[in-house]
Amino acid sequence: MSGEIRHPRPGVDWETRAYWEGCGRGELVLQRCRACGTTQHRPRALCVSCLSDEIEHFVASGRGRVHSYTVTHQNQTPAFREAVPYVLAYVDLEEGVRILSNVVGCAPEEVKIGLPVRVEFTQPAEPAGEIAIPRFRPE
C-alpha cells in the first residue's frame, strides 16, 4: 500500500484567499459573476466571460464525477515520491467547472471515469490552520 500524499502547501494571495479559507472551514467555495452569471474556477478578480469585477463567492455542493484520472507510479518530487501509486484526477463539479485533485479513500483500481465523488478536506504537509486541501473520495 502506498504512503499518504504530503500535499505541498499552496501559495495564497488575495484573489485566492476566499477559496483556501473556505476549504479551511470545510466548504468548497466557487465564484459566480453577478453581471453575467458565469461560474468559474480557479478564482480570480474578474469574470472570465465579461471581465466584470462583480464576483461573488458561493459554497458548492462538493459533489462531482471523475472526468479523467491517472494512477501515478513515478514522481520524483519528495512530497510524492513515497505516496505512489496515487490517483490524480479531474473532477467535473455539479456546478459546471472542472477541478484538478486527488481521489482517495479507495484502491486506485476502483477509480473509473464517471465515478461519483464528494469533496473532503485535509491539512497540507505543513499544517496551515486557516486553510485546507480539498480532495475527493467515492460517494
Binding site: 501559495g11 491517472t70 514522481n75 520524483q76 512530497a79 496515487y86 490524480l88 484538478l100 471515469i113
Partner: protein, 384 residues
C-alpha cells in the same frame, strides 16, 4: 499576397550527451552549422529568436550578448516545446513586414547531463496560480496520461495501438545514425515496460537527451541565392488552450485551431501532405494530434496509427528521424520537427528518406495536454 518566406538553412546538433558543453555553446555551434550550410555569416543575422529551459526572463538578450549580435528584431516567445515552430511563423511575419531580413532561431539544452526529471517531477512551484496544481502531484506524464485514459474510455483505444507509435518511431530511429535509441522494439516491449503514469508506460514516453539546433529563415527570393535549396513556408497557425473553465472536451487540443489555420493559409488539403513531423512527447500526443489536425476523425486515431500507415513507406509517414520517443528530446523538441521536415523535403535523408516528398506538415505541442498547452503548425513545401 505577402512576399514568400523560406527556410534557407537548418542544423541539428549531433550531440545527445554533452556534459562538457553549455546550452549557450550548443546554440552557438548550431547557429554556426545552419549559417555555414547556406553560406551566410553571423553579421547577416538581424533577427534573433530563442526559447529554452535554461533561459531566464531576459534569456534572449543574454543569448544576443553571447553571440555578440545586435539584432533589430528579437522574439523570446516561450510557449513550451512548440515555441520554435511558432518562431518560424513569427519570423515570417517579421520578414514580410520588413522588420528583419535574416532570422536565426535557436535552441540548446543539456537536459540529460543536468539530470532534469522533466516528465516525472511535480509541476509548478508555490505561486498562487500554481497552488491549484502543486498540492496534487501533477507530473508532465500525468497530464498526458489523463488524456490517454479519457480517449480509451470514450473510444476503446488500446495500449497496443499507442505502442504501435513507439515501435514505429524506433524503427525510424534505427535508420537515423544520429538517433539516441536505435535498437528496435516490439509492442510487447512497450506493454511490459514499467507503468509511469497509468495508462502510459516507460516506452510511451519520450527520452531525455542533450541537444539543440538552428533554423535560418529569410525571404524566398533571398533564399534562392543561397547555398541550399530553399524550403518554402506555405502556411501556419498557432494556438494556446486550457482547461477548467467551462469544462471543455479534454481531447480536443490546440492543434485543431492551429492546424485548421495552417491548412487554410497554405491552400492545401490533407491528401497533399507527403509526411508529417508530429511532436511525440508521449505516444498519446501523436494520436490526439492526428485527430485534431483532421487526418482522421476523433476516436479513430487508434486505427489510423495501426497497419503501417505512419511508418516509412506508409500513407502518412511520421517522425522519420525517430522523434522524441527515440532520436532526441532535450526538454523542448519543436526545432527538430522543422529541421527534419526541411532535410526530407531537400531529399537528404538517406535510408529514412520519404521518396519524392514535396509537401510536409510539422506540428509542435507545448505544455501539458489536459491542462495548459499550446500548438503550432507549419506546412512546408519544396521550392517549385
Amino acid at each position: 499576397m505577402s512576399a514568400r518566406v523560406a527556410l534557407a538553412g537548418v542544423y541539428e546538433h549531433p550531440t545527445r550527451w554533452a556534459p562538457d558543453k553549455t546550452s549557450s555553446q550548443i546554440m552557438a555551434e548550431s547557429a554556426r552549422g545552419a549559417l555555414q550550410e547556406c553560406g551566410l555569416a553571423l553579421k547577416d543575422v538581424d533577427g534573433l529568436f530563442a526559447a529554452g529551459m535554461e533561459m531566464g526572463a531576459m534569456g534572449v538578450v543574454q543569448l544576443a550578448e553571447y553571440l555578440n549580435l545586435k539584432p533589430r528584431y528579437v522574439d523570446g516567445t516561450n510557449i513550451g516545446g512548440s515555441s520554435f515552430v511558432a518562431h518560424v511563423r513569427h519570423a515570417a511575419g517579421a520578414i514580410q513586414a520588413g522588420l528583419c531580413e535574416v532570422a536565426l532561431i535557436l535552441y540548446g539544452s543539456t537536459a540529460a547531463s543536468n539530470a532534469m526529471a522533466i516528465g516525472t517531477a511535480g509541476r509548478a512551484g508555490s505561486d498562487p496560480a500554481a497552488g491549484f496544481v502543486s498540492p496534487y502531484g501533477l507530473t508532465t506524464v500525468g497530464g498526458y496520461a489523463m488524456a490517454a485514459r479519457r480517449h480509451m474510455h470514450l473510444y476503446g483505444t488500446r495500449s497496443e495501438q499507442l505502442a504501435e507509435i513507439a515501435v514505429t518511431m524506433r524503427r525510424h530511429a534505427a535508420l537515423n545514425p544520429a538517433a539516441k535509441m536505435r535498437q528496435e522494439i516490439t509492442i510487447e516491449d512497450v506493454l511490459s515496460s514499467r507503468v509511469i503514469s497509468d495508462p502510459l508506460h516507460l516506452l510511451d514516453c519520450c527520452i531525455i537527451s542533450d541537444g539543440g539546433g538552428a533554423l535560418v529563415v529569410t525571404s524566398l527570393e533571398r533564399a534562392r541565392d543561397l547555398a541550399r535549396p530553399p524550403v518554402q513556408l506555405l502556411g501556419s497557425g498557432e494556438a494556446v488552450w486550457h482547461q477548467e473553465i467551462g469544462a471543455p472536451d479534454m481531447l480536443s487540443i490546440a492543434a485543431s485551431q492551429s492546424g485548421a489555420e495552417a491548412f487554410r493559409t497554405a491552400g492545401v488539403s490533407h491528401d497533399d501532405i507527403d509526411f508529417a513531423m508530429i511532436y511525440d512527447s508521449f505516444t498519446i500526443t501523436v494520436l490526439l494530434t492526428l485527430e485534431s489536425l483532421g487526418f482522421c476523425k476523433p476516436g479513430e486515431g487508434g486505427d489510423f496509427v495501426s497497419d503501417g500507415r505512419i511508418g516509412l513507406g506508409g500513407a502518412l509517414p511520421l517522425n522519420l528521424d525517430g522523434g522524441g520517443l527515440s532520436s532526441n528530446h532535450p526538454g523542448m523538441r519543436g526545432i527538430f520537427l522543422v529541421i527534419e521536415a526541411v532535410k526530407q523535403l531537400r531529399g537528404e535523408c538517406g535510408d529514412r528518406q520519404v521518396e519524392g516528398a514535396e509537401t510536409a506538415l510539422a506540428h509542435g505541442t507545448g505544455g501539458l495536454l489536459s491542462t495548459l498547452h499550446s500548438g503550432a503548425t507549419l506546412i512546408l513545401g519544396r521550392d517549385r
